[in-house]
């Protein structure tokens, strides 16, 4: 069943090395093998240096920092787990977590459903289908900075297009990005505009992987369009759904760029997300130790979510990863 899905195909694409080593395992002298080993390390060394230097080293250093109190200039002082303890009682962090959860709850289901719907609409033979697909994908390519600036123009309460339209329709004016209860919704809308393209493309690829025979067989058995979608297409899409959901959740809890370019965490901290909070703590308040601890807290949460979903999908035999 699942052998035709995108998830499994992606996995097998990663496996060509399963065939490659055959040449290297030829019986040879110890010396030869040693030379092959050195050659191998020679090939991976540049990448290894980059990974160690730019990923592993900063990660280890950040953990070290999270056990200290450091403003970036004076001598750090060792506080042990003090930073982690402070996180428990930090009201601002708790608010930031709340805002991030709100955003995730608004954004993830919407982007997955919207992506699936758009993909179904685009997965047919229509004149100019290429144009439509491109049009959907263009916002994804736009940088978050550009999207953010566009958002501030569209949703400016005094001079923005959104309120001009409302005015023309004789509807009450809204505060949008300057109203604490609406700002997160506006940010969700704008990130959907950019991010739905991503889920659409993934679903489109998955839809094109579904064997036509299955749908034909369903039709011959008398299934109508809804039945063939619900009983044939949708189950086939399950692994991709798990994948995009996890992917979008991880993206959502790391929301930073749109907030930075639109509200800077305001109004009244209503859009302060976890990552924005940690950025502000590190680079504005110069509390690098505490910010590192927050970063590690976020890392732990991400790890738990991903691990949980992987375990679940293994048990449920939905191979998404």
């Amino acid at each position: 069943m699942a052998s035709t899905t995108a998830g499994v195909r992606r996995r097998s694409a990663l496996l060509p090395q399963a065939h490659a080593p055959r040449a290297a395992t030829r019986p040879g002298s110890r010396k030869e093998r040693r030379r092959a080993g050195i050659q191998g390390w020679g090939f991976v060394a540049p990448a290894l240096l980059i990974v160690l230097g730019l990923s592993i080293f900063p990660a280890v250093w950040a953990f070290w920092l999270s056990l200290q109190s450091w403003d970036g200039f004076s001598t750090p002082t060792w506080v042990g787990l003090g930073n982690y303890q402070a996180m428990v009682t930090d009201a601002a962090l708790r608010d930031a977590v709340g805002h991030t959860i709100l955003y995730t709850v608004l954004f993830v289901p919407a982007s997955v459903l919207l992506g699936m719907a758009l993909a179904l609409l685009l997965n047919r033979t229509l004149p100019l289908i290429g144009v439509y697909r491109t049009a959907i994908f263009v916002p994804f390519v736009a940088s978050a900075a550009a999207t953010g600036i566009l958002t501030t123009y569209l949703f400016n309460p005094q001079f923005g297009l959104a309120n001009t339209v409302l005015r023309a329709l004789h509807l009450p004016q809204q505060g949008w990005l300057e109203d604490p209860s609406q700002a997160m919704v506006v940010i969700t809308l704008m990130s959907l505009w950019g991010q739905a393209a991503f889920t659409t493309v993934i679903y489109l690829a998955a839809l094109q992987d579904i064997p036509v025979e299955l749908l034909e067989a369903a039709r011959i058995d008398g299934a109508n369009r809804w039945q063939s979608f619900w009983h044939v297409t949708f189950p086939q899409l399950a692994p991709v759904t798990v994948f995009v959901t996890v992917w979008q959740v991880i993206g959502a809890i790391q929301l930073f760029d749109l907030v930075y370019t639109t509200t800077r965490g305001g109004p009244l901290d209503a859009t302060q997300t976890i990552v924005y909070y940690l950025w502000q703590t590190a680079f504005k308040s110069l509390e690098f130790g505490y910010a590192s601890a927050v970063a590690y807290g976020l890392f732990a949460v991400t790890l738990v979510i991903t691990g949980g979903v992987v375990l679940y999908s293994r048990r449920a035999k939905v191979e998404a990863f």
Binding site: P21, D71, F73, T263, G266, S285
Partner: protein, 440 residues
């Protein structure tokens, strides 16, 4: 399956990789050779200078560096902006300290002074600047205090000075038929005018105030506090005292304007109010010299007066920036870094730099110079701002913990102006947070 390999082999490879990385890291941090212990006037010396400037400002400073090299042929000034923006200099310096490659002279915002001093890598030039030929007293008091964080070591020279004045848009005033502000306005006059200028039907506001909660929100509030006789910190600089009656009175005025009169445009971004002022949507802003150039470009018709006063006290606030000098344990570099900044901040050179660029002159002695008068022609109001330096009596505190204090005050102001909470409660709460940060 990958080819099996003996554990020893893997260890060796790992060791090789580790060695390679440590070498790279060591090379990056570049242990400089032992510096000269005593000053040798003839020694070939290279000093590094991070200006934090871009475009025209950077070009002017590069020209001055070349002149300095001509005056002292054995000195080479390695000048660069240091970082893509002035804001990013702080991170660059922090990273530079970690890696051991920091400059001899760097531009720095005044608010970084205590952190830079805390790095223990700054020079102390307190004794040198006491020499009469430096004319240290010609610098504004706020700038001198900022260069000497916490009253301890003097870590550099003032680089750029400014202050807040009241800038009014004559187009908006004329349209509403309101008299222009004068130098002896009170805050009541100010509030009344703002109310008259406000017109919801055309989206016109009397005044613009940042509610982003940043230092922009905070420092605009300090003149209100000081004019009412309040202080930010207690004498020993350990307790926040801005929640005094003076502070509450100041914040109540702003709250009444924002919430009751609705005459303040509450700017979430720190930048939009100035743009709206330039396009005739806001009648008054309180800002400094950096705004004038943009107003010229936008062809906005404006006027400049000192801030409104309380009982005749028109105190303003200044945000002086610094040239900070760093210690490399090398007498030659130390000497020439000091000489460069002393030369740069002398009246003769400052006219070629700050005045030529459109900043305020660093020293009172430059105000009558023909160069400055020519700038006033180009940027009307600059003379009022230069004269207003005398109204910057207090310096913003340069203590560790000011950053957190600023954040607490900024949030309190933003909340109150957006109709959440009362001035007294909000300030008391902010003061408690700030006192915590000052003690820790």
């Amino acid at each position: 399956m990958s080819p099996q390999r003996s554990p020893r082999m893997r260890l060796a490879a790992l060791a090789a990789a580790t060695a390679a990385i440590s070498l790279t890291v060591a090379a990056c941090s570049g242990g400089s050779p032992q510096g000269a212990a005593t000053f040798d006037p003839e020694a070939q010396t290279t000093i590094t200078w991070w200006t934090g400037q871009a475009d025209q400002a950077e070009t002017i400073l590069e020209g001055l560096a070349a002149d300095f090299e001509k005056l002292h042929p054995n000195v080479k000034v390695d000048i660069s902006s240091g970082a893509p923006s002035t804001d990013e200099l702080l991170q660059k310096l922090s990273a530079g300290f970690a890696g051991g490659t920091y400059p001899d002279v760097s531009y720095a915002y005044g608010s970084w002074a205590s952190e830079l001093q805390g790095s223990k890598r700054t020079l102390d030039i307190t004794d040198q600047v006491a020499e009469p030929d430096v004319k240290w007293d010609e610098f504004p008091a706020a700038a001198r205090q900022t260069a000497q964080p916490g009253g301890g070591s003097t870590i550099g020279f003032p680089a750029v000075v400014d202050n807040l004045t009241l800038i009014y848009n004559t187009t908006v005033f004329d349209a509403a038929g309101v008299d222009y502000p004068t130098a002896d306005w009170t805050w009541d006059d100010f509030r009344e005018a703002a109310k008259k200028l406000t017109d919801p039907s055309t989206n016109t506001y009397g005044y613009g105030y940042s509610v982003s909660g940043s230092e922009e929100t905070t420092w605009q509030f300090w003149p209100h506090l000081w004019q009412n006789g309040g202080e930010i910190l207690s004498e020993d600089q350990k307790t926040a005292t801005f929640d005094s009656d003076a502070g509450v009175k100041g914040l109540t005025l702003l709250r009444d304007m924002a919430v009751d009169d609705k005459s303040i445009y509450l700017d979430q971004t720190d930048t939009k109010a100035a743009q709206l002022f330039a396009s005739d949507r806001i009648g008054m802003i309180t800002s400094g010299p950096w705004t004038l150039y943009d107003l010229q470009t936008a062809k906005t018709s404006y006027g400049v007066v000192p801030l409104p006063g309380t009982d005749g006290n028109h105190e303003s606030v200044s945000g002086p920036d610094l040239w900070v000098l760093f210690d490399h344990k090398d007498a030659n570099r130390e000497h020439w870094s000091y000489e460069l900044t002393k030369w740069l901040t002398s009246a003769e050179q400052d006219i070629r730099w700050n005045v030529a660029y459109g900043n305020l002159p660093l020293r009172t002695s430059e105000v009558q110079s023909p160069e400055f008068l020519a700038q006033v022609e180009a940027l009307p109001g600059l003379d009022v701002m230069a004269a207003n330096m005398v109204n910057s009596k207090h310096a913003r505190p340069t203590v560790k913990g000011y950053v957190q204090l600023s954040e607490a005050v900024g949030s309190a102001i933003s909340e109150v102006l957006q109709g959440q909470g009362e001035p007294a409660d909000a300030l008391t709460q902010a003061a408690a947070t700030a006192t915590d940060a000052l003690g820790g």
